[in-house]
């Protein structure tokens, strides 16, 4: 899929040649800026190929404000967006020793056979140097001309975007994230061309920041969503995405054109489900088998990543991307007679939904199976997540479900924090200054997925040590013995672990009094948001649900001198509670941290920080036991 969003991520790509000097983020904003840029787009009809195309003429001037810097230039392209020409000059001259490289885009060792970039370094050799870069490109199918991003990693002092739309072309332009920016839009009619010219004038657009755990770029940066609907030109009628049905028709045609070897798939499906006696178990077996045996490698070949690989090919290769894995899951289930379907979905990385029919809306494919009136969604790329459990990135999202000639628009079931759980129960006694006893853990949902991922994806000879270090926080005084776990390859059930504990010097003794720091883990301790530097909301990976109980036996001859006060913060987004209860023989500490909403908006940072400070203060309370 052509994804102009790639360009934003790509600006950090390292290119051979002179690398840009390392400068702090703030310095980069000032050192290089864009004094001028003109991006021109025009819908044209190509009589030779008998199709509507979009011609792009993209010119950007970069200038170096203080000292020299080499910046990476990268323009994405693919089979459906071709680069016709690239030219660049620095201070009026074309450098002979720099050649644009046309290569495949690589991201974290996953490569996209369809996504490519034209990249080269642009050395701005002195203060005031100006580099002018021009790309001419053609989008061969208006469906793939989905967005125009207006911002850059550099200050855009002045940018003009023009979109020339002939009256025979029907397209909607939606302005996204314009608020708070100086962006003026006007429309003029070109009588001679019988076309509307939309002009966007942008002034002083601040540089994009890329922060960890921030929402995706479609939530943040100003851009124009281009919704190509249809065209009537030269006696031709082209239907793009007038409606969601059109979009579905197009996507469905692509996937329907893939012909599988049904015999191979059925044989495999029977092999996988051998021994299963009921339908749900069979469905689960298929799902877990694909999760466990098909290696995720993104080979997005063909029609810019919308056409899946043949299911039997995915099976043969033992690898696939999300489309391939979804297609295989569906094909295996169908071969056993189940009502399995492909589904298109946009993860939470994307701000839109199917109310705006566009290829920009989805970036993922999963499978659905309808069984006894209930639809179960199966995302095999989420290794270790169980059947009927849904990852944060898709939960609650709109999903376009295959349904013959018509589509079904549904939603992935919304999850609450209760889907996930990181539970720990400790039953302890004090021996000398050691804490001894027994501990049990239970993990569910995305917490389970996280633990299993670490256990299974690391080297097996290091896995036990790694788990031990996780459980004891790399503190060898927290000595764990007799560790047992539930089956680590069974994703259908919760993961549990049990062990004996001897925590050396786990309590402090002053005189005869014991001072106990009862919470060993203190999750979210000091987890504050940087209110001065952080620009965007903070999104946690999923809705955390942490419950910890510690039951501490009061030593004989002792009583509770100080029981720390309970603590509670509850609001719509999160709940933090700490509770102490005592009986004659025991003190029980119970902590619960629930993120009901995995997203903390910037407006909430101050409150969040204040609440975290209170949580810290609660963590830093000690239980005191004195001799009677």
């Amino acid at each position: 899929m052509i994804n102009k969003l790639l360009f934003i991520a790509l600006t950090a790509v390292s290119i051979s040649g002179k690398a840009s000097a390392h400068t702090p983020r703030a310095a980069k904003e000032k050192n290089v800026s864009i004094p001028e840029s003109k991006l021109n787009y025009e819908f044209v009809f190509n009589p030779l190929s008998n199709r509507v195309e979009v011609k792009e003429n993209l010119s950007t001037t970069y200038t170096c404000n203080t000292y020299r810097e080499t910046i990476p230039i990268a323009q994405p392209y693919s089979d459906l967006e071709v680069i016709d020409d690239v030219s660049f000059k620095i201070d009026g001259k074309t450098p002979r020793d720099i050649k644009p490289e046309f290569t495949y885009y690589k991201d974290k060792d996953i490569f996209y056979s369809d996504e490519r970039i034209c990249a080269f370094p642009l050395p701005l050799d002195k203060q005031g140097s100006k580099g002018v870069v021009t790309f001419k490109a053609t989008v061969l199918d208006p469906r793939f001309f989905t967005s125009i991003f207006l911002s850059e990693p550099y200050l855009v002092e002045n940018r003009e975007v023009t979109i020339k739309v002939p009256r025979w072309m029907h397209v909607d332009l939606k302005d996204m994230n314009f608020a708070g920016n100086s962006i003026q839009r006007s429309v003029d009619y070109d009588e001679k061309a019988d076309a509307d010219i939309y002009t966007y004038s942008i002034d002083n657009l601040k540089p994009e920041e890329h922060e960890k755990n921030a929402p995706g770029p479609t939530y943040l940066f100003p851009h124009i969503l281009v919704l190509a609907k249809s065209a009537e030109v030269k006696g031709n009628t082209f239907t793009y995405f007038n409606t969601l049905q059109d979009q579905y028709n197009w996507c469905h045609k692509l996937v329907s054109s893939v012909v599988n070897n049904e015999d191979v798939l059925k044989t495999k499906a029977l092999e996988i489900t051998k021994g299963n006696t009921n339908d749900i178990d069979k469905i689960k077996s298929i799902f877990y088998w694909v999760q466990n045996n098909i290696h995720y490698i993104a080979f997005e070949d063909g029609i810019a990543g919308f056409k899946p690989e043949k299911a039997d090919e995915v099976l043969r290769k033992n690898y696939g991307d999300c489309k391939g894995m979804a297609h295989l899951t569906k094909a295996l289930l169908k071969s056993l007679g189940y009502d399995a379907r492909l589904c298109w979905i946009g993860t939470d990385h994307i701000a839109y939904d199917y109310t705006t029919p566009s290829l920009a809306v989805d970036n993922h494919m999963i499978c659905a199976v309808v069984y006894q009136g209930k639809t179960y969604f199966l995302d095999a790329t989420e290794s270790y997540l169980g059947f009927n459990e849904y990852a944060e990135r898709i939960e609650g999202r709109q999903v376009l479900v295959e349904n013959g000639d018509q589509y079904l628009l549904s939603h992935i079931p919304a999850t609450t924090a209760t889907q996930n759980l990181d539970y720990e129960k400790r039953v302890l006694t004090i021996t000398g200054t050691n804490l001894q006893g027994h501990v049990e853990h239970l993990w569910k949902g995305e917490d389970k997925e996280s633990i299993l991922s670490s256990l299974n994806d690391g080297k097996k000879d290091e896995s036990a040590d790694a788990f031990n270090k996780y459980l004891n926080n790399s503190n060898t005084d927290y000595a764990i013995s007799n560790l047992t776990t539930s089956n680590q390859t069974d994703y259908d059930h919760d993961l549990t672990a049990k062990y004996d504990l001897n925590y050396k010097n786990g309590v402090s003794k002053f005189g005869k009094d014991y001072y106990v720091d009862i919470d060993f883990r203190k999750e979210l301790n000091d987890y504050t948001m940087n209110t001065t530097e952080r620009q965007y909301d903070y999104w946690f990976y999923y809705k955390y649900n942490v419950v910890c109980e510690t039951q501490l036996a009061i030593p004989a001859g002792y009583q509770v001198n100080t029981l720390p006060p309970d603590f509670s913060i509850k609001n719509n987004n999160y709940e933090f509670t700490i509770q102490y209860t005592k009986t004659a023989d025991n003190v029980t500490y119970k902590k619960s941290l629930i993120l009901k909403n995995s997203r903390i908006s910037k407006a909430q940072f101050v409150q969040w920080n204040a609440d975290i400070a209170k949580l810290n203060a609660a963590y830093n309370q000690q239980l005191v036991l004195t001799a009677k």
Partner: protein, 748 residues
């Protein structure tokens, strides 16, 4: 795939037919060649590559390299080329075949081995009809999977994806289809290269590096069998070394003079004990290199030193190269100019120590504060650069002789490379000068923070060749060996003084006013992060009477403009400083400071002998004070940094310990006891652990409202034999235990 791409980078692959004939076969298409190579390799019946089952004990490993082989065939000859006049070029055929058979036991190794990346073809041929210099590389791959059932599945390499597809540059990637956990993967990468040039001097650095091979006999995975085979034609000079008891090559010579070097290795273990280790000292390894042409010229030009010979003649040959450099290398005019400017015509009237120090600093100034105009990165990254010691010492030696200062030249094998007896190439040694006197004076060029009379930490305790020139023309030397002294722990120190108080408005937070003073080896790391290049430039310019920046730029540039750019770059680099100070605190305390202010460098440690580097700052920290009813628990131990005690596995060590330096770390914590409280448990803080490897001691006193805690951690040596590991652990355990200690602030 990390492993495989590393392998590709390390091991080149060349033409199988190098020795057969000059004329190419009739059909030279890529596909035909690939097919030919595949038949040859899969047709070879090598027992190690037939293994299909492994002992059950190996199942616990992430992967097992059942067999690995590298076969390199290199042939170089002179060829006449007709241009206007005839000239001789060197034509080199090189074929390298790397093959590996690996058992995949988990998802991690499946990830690691599931894709192959390679330079499929690269054509850098230059010139036209008569003047063409061929430079071509082609890579051929093959793979097969052996399932647990024994079934062999040949992989269709046609499923590759070309990530670059230019006519003269193709890069490929292949995801191995059908590979699963439990399978055996057998694959090969064969590279065929034909290069024509004007001899080894014409080779690029990359080409020269690709002619050098290093095999450390330890690996990420266990390797059951490893066969290394090199074949060279008679015109190639071969140099190799088998170090730390690595097996020797078996050398055979054919009738035509071609020589084969072969070694068959078994059961190569995994790397162990990564903390404080030096692989080139502690694992067996083999290095082999080759060159073509005149032997002596090759010695100088390529930096290759000698043919392998176990006796002392080898070591003497190794030194000859540097002696020759001393003879032919001229001197840079800058230090001499500065010397004259500083001392006038009567330079030699000045005390010897003064002159030596000036010259040393001037050479350093020349190395670090003259700018190439290309790299404007003057952030902390620049402070991590190092000078070329061999070049600088040669310069300094000439200058010292001009001042009639007799001196010795030391070629030392730093501990991060092979030992002196395993000297292989000039890059393995660093140079230093020693001037004998009442107290010996050392001059070494390492990073910019290395000072006059400072021995870099990785030279200390190591052996060196000692060269004493017999004349100032460097035509004769007295050669011997010596050992570099180890600087005592007290000279490599960090002293941290922290004045700590509780924040009145929130007594669970502490305010820390911290001053850190560092000397010797211990200052370098923090200097690199906290001393700006601008400070360095200004300090040395001022000290040495150096030129304005405009005169320290390359010729032919607009000096005024470039100088302005550098000045701007200096200013920009200052913006890094607050983050660098903060990062230092995070590193030390394992959490972010709050209300961080008043941070500054008190003394930049750039001048003088045994200079002191000092910096300070004030900040607030959380989590050091716990409320306990009316009282508070003060976590005194946490102030001296977090430290994870060695776990069970780490407590058993098999190899010696190479510490970064003998060093002393002192912490003084002056804690203001809040009014209305008294300290309980201070006496329990005191501790003393002492043995031959080091000391950990704590003393605590309460005077008035100040609780003073002094902590000393000393590592006495920079090297310990593995037998002393338990003693070292005692020191480390004591330190770790202390970090958990607390005192009570009891309400009066």
């Amino acid at each position: 795939m990390k492993t495989l791409t590393l392998v590709i980078a390390a091991f080149l692959c060349f033409n199988i037919n190098a020795f057969a004939q000059d004329a190419p076969p009739a059909d030279t298409t890529y596909a035909h060649k690939a097919d030919e190579i595949q038949k040859k390799i899969w047709g070879e019946k090598v027992p190690e590559f037939e293994v299909k089952t492994l002992p059950a004990s190996m199942d616990k490993e992430s992967a097992v390299i059942i067999a690995r082989s590298l076969n390199v065939e290199l042939s170089s000859n002179n060829k006449l080329k007709m241009v206007i006049f005839s000239s001789s070029t060197t034509r080199t055929n090189k074929v390298s075949t790397f093959r590996e058979r690996v058992k995949i036991n988990d998802k991690s190794s499946l990830d690691a081995f599931s894709t192959l990346e390679y330079q499929k073809s690269l054509d850098r041929t230059k010139g036209g009809f008569l003047t063409k210099y061929v430079n071509k590389k082609d890579t051929y791959i093959g793979a097969k999977i052996i399932k647990p059932s024994g079934q062999e599945i040949m992989i269709n390499t046609g499923e590759e994806v070309l990530t670059k597809n230019e006519s003269r540059d193709k890069q490929g990637q292949l995801a191995i289809p059908g590979l699963q956990v439990g399978d055996i993967l057998d694959y090969y990468i064969c590279k065929i290269e034909l290069v024509e040039n004007n001899g080894d001097e014409d080779l690029t650095k990359q080409q020269k590096d690709e002619n050098e091979y290093a095999f450390i006999l330890a690996d990420e995975y266990p390797v059951l069998s490893y066969n290394i085979n090199f074949k060279f034609n008679s015109k190639i000079n071969v140099y190799y070394i088998n170090a730390n008891k690595a097996p020797d090559f078996k050398i055979t010579t054919e009738a035509n003079g071609d020589k084969t070097y072969n070694v068959q290795l078994k059961d190569i273990p995994k790397y162990v004990d990564k903390l404080w280790s030096e692989p080139f000292r502690q694992y067996p390894y083999i290095r082999i290199s080759s060159s073509y042409g005149d032997k002596f010229l090759n010695l100088l030009a390529a930096g290759q030193l000698f043919t392998y010979d176990k006796n002392a003649a080898k070591i003497i040959n190794a030194v000859k190269s540097y002696e020759a450099q001393l003879a032919y290398q001229g001197t840079d005019p800058v230090p001499e100019k500065l010397l004259k400017r500083q001392f006038g015509k009567e330079v030699k009237e000045n005390p010897r120590d003064t002159l030596m120090k000036f010259l040393y600093d001037a050479l350093k100034y020349r190395a670090f504060c003259y700018y190439d105009g290309q790299n404007l990165d003057v952030t902390s990254k620049r402070g991590r650069g190092t000078a070329r010691s061999l070049y600088c010492i040669a310069q300094l030696s000439h200058m010292l002789y001009n001042l009639n200062i007799e001196h010795e030249i030391l070629l030392v094998a730093p501990r991060n490379s092979g030992s002196l007896d395993n000297f292989f190439s000039k890059g393995d040694v660093e140079a230093m000068i020693r001037v004998k006197g009442d107290k010996d004076v050392y001059m070494a060029f390492d990073d910019v923070f290395t000072q006059y009379n400072e021995i870099p930490a990785n030279y200390q305790g190591e052996e060196a060749f000692l060269l004493l020139p017999q004349n100032h023309a460097y035509t004769a030397f007295t050669e011997s060996r010596t050992k570099i002294a180890v600087v005592e722990a007290s000279k490599n120190y960090v002293k941290t003084i922290m004045n700590v108080s509780l924040v009145p408005t929130n007594m669970q937070k502490v305010k820390i006013q911290r001053t850190v003073t560092e000397g010797g080896f211990m200052r370098h790391g923090d200097q690199q992060n906290l001393v700006l290049m601008q400070n360095i430039d200004e300090t040395y310019t001022d000290m040495l009477g150096g030129d304005d920046l405009t005169k320290r730029l390359p010729k032919g540039v607009n000096a005024e403009k470039l100088s302005t750019e550098y000045q701007d770059a200096f200013e920009k680099a200052k913006e890094d400083l607050p983050d660098n100070f903060k990062a230092e605190i995070v590193d030390e305390f394992d959490q972010e400071p709050q209300e961080f202010k008043d941070f500054k460098v008190n003394s930049n440690g750039l001048t003088g002998i045994d200079p002191v580097f000092s910096y300070s700052g004030t900040f607030v920290m959380n989590n050091y004070v716990k409320k306990a009813g009316n009282n508070y628990v003060f976590e005194a131990g946490k102030f001296i940094s977090t430290f994870n005690k060695a776990d069970e596995k780490e407590r058993t060590r098999k190899i010696d310990i190479y510490m970064p330096a003998a060093r002393t770390l002192t912490y003084v914590i002056n804690f203001t006891i809040p009014a209305g409280y008294r300290v309980k448990g201070a006496e329990d803080l005191s501790h003393n652990q002492n043995n031959e490897t080091g000391t950990f001691s704590v003393g605590a006193t309460v005077k008035g409202n100040i609780l003073s805690i002094q902590v000393n951690r000393i590592y006495t040596h920079n090297f310990e034999k593995v037998e002393n590991w338990p003693k070292l652990l005692e020191i480390m355990d004591s330190f770790s235990d202390f970090t958990n200690q607390k005192v009570l602030l009891e309400k009066i």
